[in-house]
Amino acid sequence: MSDVSTPDPRQSRLFTASELLGYLVLAAVIFIVLPSVLDAFRLNLFGKYLSYAFVAIGLVLCWGVGGILSLGQGVFFGLGGYCMAMFLKLEASTPENTSIQSTPGIPDFMDWNQLTELPWWWVPFNSLTFTVVAIVVVPVILAFIIGFAMFTRRVGGVYFAIITQAIAAIATILIIGQQGFTGGVNGITDLRTLMGWDIRPDSAKTALYFVNGVLLFAVLFVAHMILKSKAGRLMIAIRDREDRVRFSGYNVANFKIFVFCAGAAFAAIGGAMFTLQVGFISPTLVGIVPSIYMVIFCAVGGRLSLLGAVYGALLVNWAQTTFSESFPELWLLAMGALFIAVVMAFPLGLAGLYDDYLKRHIDRLLAPVDRMMMRRAARKTSPKAPAPTAQAAE
């Protein structure tokens, strides 16, 4: 075994110093800088942008690292959002609030569509516990079914992208078509309280912004752990040379299904936070266009970088809000141009630029800290490190 004082660089560590710094800077931006420079309205907007960051983080795992391009992440985002909205809508539809309806006690859009009873699959969404579980489990089940059907048949690449895009289109059509069950094209609106707590005032929105921030870090942490594990390295290997991975003894399909499900779960949490912060969910967030936007956030930020994905989501959305106010027609073109420019000129996005120009200097500055962290990690993992026990054994 190597000496503790000369740390082995191959000893796997959860964080390097520069990674840790990256997370600290992002935490400072989200929890300190943005809340102190933005008013409640703008902060809520940034909270909405950050809810897309969840999807972008999932895309880093699936697309950037695993090479699986999904153009249907909006479906999972939407499922999470709709699950949350169903709970909030039921809470808002008390018999007193809906006494003017022909059937009081059911959501207003159901009443408008001549439904006289709550559909059976809406009933469990009266429970918050069920809803919280469903927000993650429902999209994961769908992702599992899609992943299982595609990846065990070795459908990949462009074919997979097109199929996920078709699923996004189908999901929108279904939601719009089943107006009585889903609220149709308007979506589920007029959401008011969460377990009696009014989510509409500025104070609630600010609180939700912080909840969103904490959840984002939880998801970042999980994604980081996956990337740092052997499974993360396997995903890179699968992207590189899928065939070879099979002959190293792995069932490639299972790993692909896993990251696709993880990406779906992350997207769904983002969707639920979107609903809570924005106060509605609608099919415009589910279809092909939002799904492609989400890929653009990830590409701009850097598809190999979890932090890049978060900055990409913030930056592109902020730019969209700013520009689309002044040039609404041009924005779509600008978005397309941006995507092409990034893919052609900066395939690794903002994070790639950071790696090329800044990382070197930061790493040099942090080198002493990094060595210290490495030594601590080595002491923790090396069974022979504690000297007293070794002496006792002699």
Binding site: R10, I226, K230, R233, G249
Partner: protein, 248 residues
């Protein structure tokens, strides 16, 4: 259908056709325990395809491949690996974006499942084993180098190392010295000599000097069929073999 045998590998009636073209045609051969078998033959004879069929990369149209009396044709690639068959590809097939160390790490047996891989810990034992293999394949100093930056010969060695760490009972090598310099070739021959001990090896190779050095028995393939089989000397003297292959 096929009786139980003492052979490590029993290939019988193996056939594959690509759109009616029979790349491998009713092929039968047997490999003993600890035997080093070399398959030679002209370009397009079907040598690579035979290895592809055994390791599950290509699905056979008919026949059977028994490895330790287990039918491989019904198994998935990863299951065949777990059964004890390792494969090196004709063009170096490694993970370019990962380091040499990581390439070897992913080839280390165990934690094959998703949750196993998530929970996998890089222990001192794993590191020591990887360092040992790296030493054998002459890559000790390059463990932290991205595999993409290796020379062609080093990539070949890395892939051999990736197989070695799997410790397969049957090792299949497709042109292991192709594209190597004379010096690299020599080192590779030495390397193969040490790693082939205690296991069966199926090698495809064009380099006759190399074949002479290592082969116990040679199978000559031509248009998907066996043209001749036997010791190197016997095969080299066979007029049919001289005509279609060695004569050129």
């Amino acid at each position: 259908m096929v009786a139980s045998t003492d052979y490590l590998l029993a290939v019988e009636g193996l056939t594959v056709s690509f759109d009616g073209f029979r790349a491998v045609d009713d092929l039968s051969f047997y490999v003993d325990k600890n035997e080093i078998r070399v398959i030679i033959g002209p370009n397009g004879a079907g040598k690579t395809t035979v290895l592809d069929l055994i390791c599950g990369r290509t699905k056979a149209t008919g026949g059977s491949v028994q490895f330790k009396n287990r039918e491989l044709l019904k198994m998935r690639e990863d299951q065949i690996v777990h059964a004890g068959v390792g494969r090196k590809f004709q063009t170096p097939s490694i993970y370019d974006d990962l380091t040499v160390f990581e390439n070897l790490e992913l080839s280390t047996p165990g934690s094959y499942t998703v949750f196993g891989a998530l929970a996998f810990k890089r222990t001192g034992e794993v590191i020591a084993r990887i360092e040992e293999i790296a030493e054998m394949i002459f890559l000790s100093d390059l463990l932290d180098q991205k595999a993409a930056l290796l020379s062609h010969g080093q990539k070949q060695w890395l892939e051999i190392g990736m197989l070695l760490i799997q410790d397969p009972e049957l090792l299949m090598l497709d042109e292991p010295v192709a594209g190597m310099s004379v010096a690299e070739r020599k080192k590779t021959a030495e390397l193969l000599n040490t790693i082939t001990k205690g296991r069966s090896v199926l090698v495809v190779e064009h380099d006759m000097k190399f074949v002479e050095d290592i082969a116990h028995k040679v199978t000559v393939l031509h248009q998907g069929k066996i043209l001749a089989e036997g010791s190197m000397d016997a095969v080299q003297a066979d007029p049919k073999v001289i005509e279609v292959y060695l004569g050129h």
